[in-house]
Amino acid sequence: MESKVLKPILAVYVGFFILFLYGPFIVLGILSFQQGPEGGPQFPIIEWSTYWYRHLFGLTPPSRIAPLPVGEALVRSLTLAFMTMVTATILGVMAAQAFRKRFRGAGVVFYLIVLGMMVPGVLTGLGTSLLANNVIGIERHWWSTAFLAHVVYTFPFAFLVMLAILNRFDGSVEEASWSLGVSPITTFRKVTFPLIFPGVLSAMLFAFTLSFDEFPRTLFASGRDQTLPLAIYGTFSVEIHPNIFAFGVMTTLFSFALLAVYGILMGLSVRRAKKMAMQEDIA
């Protein structure tokens, strides 16, 4: 069998493939420990130091290299991501809930929603800013126009995640609740929601991280106040220093922290579901 030869070759290949994916980031991580403030964003490492991390938090004596303008941008990005997460998840849960029943025009609505994640950001961004700037004549802000565009982008992800969850959902528990005379709203709160909570959590995670990192839409649709990706983009045109690398390492760690919170919440909800199932068994 030729796959006896093929498999080890492909295994090695996949090793190189993963190196290709991680290589730049490893280099970036190493260079973030470059000596400062003279050390540049390239090899060789003059001396290992945490200068650029301290520089990021403003703990170094002033030098010719200005600190990254990330403080306020970070707060804005977190706020925007939170607003987007809440709105996109609510819209996503509602739309997916509607899709559990057959209805006329379901195909059109499905494609309309999915279009939001397929249209390139540069187009939605341009369109949104045209609409705001030239037609309606309002100022663009990260919390207004950019927020609208962010929801257009993240709502389809929340919708698809919820659709996948609700597809596997056993509707008979809801019917049992309804037949016992419980109102649909209470049923949703007490029966449906706890069961779909893991999906909701995933939808929230998607919406938050996509919005937090969103760049092209924000570039066009937000006003002068920058979000975090815009602040990073601003440093591209000027000379780059290893502080941006240190910053890259920090944001990655932040993402992992977020992933850990998600993992813990997910674990808790699964455990609670198990506990409830056990109590039911006893009863």
Binding site: M1, E2, S3, L6, K7, L10, A11, Y13, V14, F17, I18, F20, L21, Y22, G23, P24, V27, L28, L31, Q42, F43, L91, M94, A95, A98, K101, L112, I113, L115, G116, V119, P120, V122, L123, T124, L126, G127, T128, L130, L131, L148, V151, V152, F155, F159, T209, D213, F215, P216, P229, I232, Y233, F236, I240, F245, F247, G248, T251, T252, F256
Partner: protein, 288 residues
């Protein structure tokens, strides 16, 4: 079911869908319509008014730089698409089909996804210390004595944009292909083998056709993202490579809304043709 309850159900569906649908019409469909509309507006040096004209369209096709950007976009898209497929398919083949253990396959897929937890712009920027004249690749190549002088064409060239985009988007090709490969019934392959088919024959007659929907989905993902790109080309080419996206950004920057809209419409048409073309290859609805 009584007419009243059907009616109530329809109402309920409508209530659940209305907010999302209205949001998408107002903030997605309307903005895209706006791009088409504004592309026919009259642009003067400092302002723009809604008198309809074809001037911006004529200017686009008369300008070598703009038409050049269209061809650069198409060329880079074809190159990156081919590379993501050629580099991604073997990886997907291993992850989705050859690895027997489900755990190993999941771990490998997660490993591929982890880099996406770093900011997109940081991932683009990470290529600079990698490709630069004093970058990691040049240093390694020199250490091994493979080259004497650093290769300068690695950074701030079309090549660096291609490398950067391939690395960023290849996972979108691997994911769908690996998914489709994972769904192949192993018994079919076993049966073909028992009947004496070699691996090449099994691959071309069974594995590849069955993975084609994955290839198409991956190709659509990669195409949509590459065609709408401007950040990677901006950051890694030193403004030497101008894609349609870059033109839109610079036009908006100098308040030339009409020209930006013309480029936007052309980009939309290009995307429409590409996606429709891919969807003709396989009927996705039937496959998934």
């Amino acid at each position: 079911m009584s007419a009243a309850s059907t009616n109530r159900e329809t109402k309920n569906t409508f209530r659940l869908l209305a907010p999302g649908v209205v949001w998408m019409i107002l903030f997605l469909v309307a903005p895209i319509m706006m791009i088409v509309y504004v592309s026919f507006w009259t642009q003067t040096t400092f302002s723009i008014n809604s008198t309809l004209t074809l001037d911006s369209w004529r200017n686009f096709f008369a300008s070598e730089a703009y038409v050049g950007a269209l061809w650069t976009t198409i060329r880079l898209w074809l190159i990156v698409l081919t590379l993501t497929f050629v580099i991604g398919y073997p990886a997907a083949l291993y992850v989705g089909l050859l690895v027997k253990s489900k755990t190993v396959s999941t771990v490998l897929l997660v490993l591929c996804v982890i880099p996406f937890w770093t900011s997109f712009l940081i991932r683009v920027l990470a290529w600079r210390p990698m490709l630069g004249k004093e970058g990691a690749i040049n240093i390694i190549l020199q250490k091994f004595g493979l080259i004497d002088t650093p290769i300068e064409v690695l950074l701030f060239s079309e090549l660096s944009v291609i490398i950067g985009m391939t690395q960023i988007y290849v996972v979108f090709m691997v994911g769908p292909i690996a998914f489709m490969l994972g769904r192949i019934d192993r018994n079919i392959i076993e049966a073909a083998r028992d009947l004496g088919a070699g691996f090449g024959r099994i691959f071309w007659k069974i594995i590849f056709p069955l993975s084609l929907p994955g290839v198409v989905v991956g190709a659509i993902f990669v195409s949509v993202m590459v065609l709408g790109e401007f950040a990677t080309s901006g950051a890694l080419s030193g403004r030497k490579v101008n894609l349609l996206g870059n033109i839109i950004v610079t036009q908006v920057g100098s308040l030339k809304w009409a020209m930006a809209s013309v480029v936007g419409v052309i980009l939309t048409i290009l995307l429409g043709i590409v996606v429709a073309g891919f969807l003709r290859i396989v009927d996705l609805k039937r496959e998934i």
